[in-house]
């Protein structure tokens, strides 16, 4: 039996996003649990894990955010395939290698089979590079990774019984990397799998920077020296501080450039629209467009 579980802070979001996706792919014997969140996401998820840990008939537990919509109708088949190797502890559809921190997207992302559907600016969708399987770049591949994006995780029964989310780290951030590191430290694999989901979320990636920064520090301190690459960097602490402060300021300034470019691009397109709509030819053909609308 494959179970689906969500921790819900906004029932309307769950009903609009996660529920239809689960309805699309759940099997007749699947259990679906949507529990109100209690405390941090780690605490809520651990409650869900505890709930299913004793189930002998469980093949996999699918943990998904309330704003995650599974797309594939044959998701369960794909999840079983991902867990067919008994050394796999957890699978997902977005993952990366060369990860050094909770900003796992700064590593080499090997699979990104999701689309970010947003409502701002009239709404739209930003597809990940392997969302369209036919158009995916050569580096898109299913396989072992350092970490997965926590918005959709498929846990093996072994993981369910042996690993728990760290409730001391943060309210929300970094729990996915920490969980994957625990799985790997215990000798199991973390892998990407060939299924897809829509993440219904705003474009703003870090609405609350300070808690994220704190989580970044805690995860780095926890794993430094335990898993290669995590929390480490070349140079002395002073050199690391100097370089990181410089790179931080450069990154902030890059965002300012983007804002300036937005103003310029907007001016350019508005100018082109104004020129086109003000042209004689556009005005001459106005009756034609009126006719077409009728």
């Amino acid at each position: 039996m494959i179970a689906f579980a969500s921790s819900v802070t906004k029932p309307a979001v769950y009903a609009r996003c996660a529920e239809p996706g689960i309805g699309r792919c759940a099997e007749p014997d699947s259990e679906v649990v949507a529990e109100p969140a209690t405390g941090s996401i780690s605490h809520s998820y651990n409650a869900l894990l505890d709930r299913f840990a004793g189930r002998e008939d469980l093949e996999a537990l699918v943990l998904l955010h309330q704003d995650t919509e599974i797309v594939d109708t044959d998701f369960c088949r794909r999840a079983r395939q991902a867990l067919s190797d008994p050394s796999v502890g957890v699978a997902g559809c977005v993952g990366a290698i060369g990860v050094k921190s909770i900003a796992w997207w700064e590593g080499s992302v090997t699979l990104s089979s999701f689309a970010n559907r947003y409502e701002e600016y009239g709404g739209g969708e930003l597809p990940g590079f392997s969302w369209d399987r036919e158009e995916a770049p050569p580096y898109a591949q299913v396989g072992e990774v350092d970490t997965l994006d926590g918005f959709l995780l498929v846990l093996s029964p072994w993981t369910l019984r042996n690993i728990r989310f760290d409730e001391d780290l943060s309210e929300f951030h970094g729990y996915d990397l920490d969980f994957c590191l625990q799985v790997r430290e215990a000798g199991r694999k973390v892998t990407t799998a060939d299924f897809r989901a829509i993440h219904h979320r705003p474009l703003e990636m870090l609405p609350d920077v300070e808690p994220w920064v704190e989580a970044h520090i805690r995860v780095a301190e926890k794993w430094d020296g335990r898993i290669p690459g995590i929390g480490t960097a070349p140079g002395s602490w002073e050199e690391r501080a100097r370089r990181a402060e410089a790179e931080r300021d450069a990154a902030r300034t890059l965002a300012y450039t983007k804002k300036l470019e937005l103003q310029a691009r907007r001016l350019q397109v508005e100018r082109a629209l104004e020129d086109a709509r003000g042209s004689i030819s556009w005005r001459v053909t106005a009756p034609l467009r009126l006719l077409a609308r009728r």
Partner: protein
Amino acid sequence: MTDPEAFRRYARPGIRMAAEEDSKIHAFAAVGSVCRSYNLLLDRAALEPGLEALVLVQQDVEILDPDFCRKVRRALDDPEVAVVGPVGATGVRTIAWWEGDISAAAPVQRYQRFGGGEIPAFSWKSHDPAPAEVEVVDGRLLVLSPWAVETLRFDESLSLGYGYELDLCLRARAAGRRVMTADLRVAYRTRSLKVLTDTDLWIEGHIQAAERLEGRLPEPPTAAGSWRERARRAEAEREAARTLAYSTEHQVDAQMAPLERALDELTESMSWRLSAPLRRLNRWRARRRGGA
């Protein structure tokens, strides 16, 4: 100057417009770093009898203010004022002085990309108007008092060319003088809208300046503690800043998408395509008129 054409097109017209009859204009080829070149200019200006102010203008900065000299005199009326500029900031902790609270005299940025245009400079954040006392002014246009010309020099050990204005302003303030913004109207002329043209070099310049300015700038508020704690925090803030930059990029794309769709719909419409010969004819007539 490193690009004489830029000087001819941007800096020179502004200087000529603003200069008075007895103004001296020194336009030299750059020698080594910006600090070395500026020090040469300071040495030369220091020899001028009756100097009221030295205005250091980068080649791609255009003065737009016909009243520039009167405003400079007014700003330097207070003998305590040593350095003046159209843009500056307080709460500065690194060479990225724009991370502080900006005071600015509504400068504009004229750019060539995206079909060319003009936008308010530093429009990515709100700022207070000039004049105001600040800790640093933007190095692209600096007005130095006779005391500053006589006494201060740029730190040539800042060999990568970043942070020189911050260093100079810190020296002026350490000597008990004031640094001010003034209502001087200027345009920054750029090809692109990049705030940093060479990010890798700027990062190295940031590190170099941070080491040179050690102890002269306030420590980060969160830096109390060891280098280890400071490094951990900076690395976290760096990743957050990068993520916010991606986020901004996504938002830019999302904001542009409806506008670009509207333009595509218009230019792909039947009536637009049907009227294409008319537009070609108009362009041909316009060219003929232009050539006549």
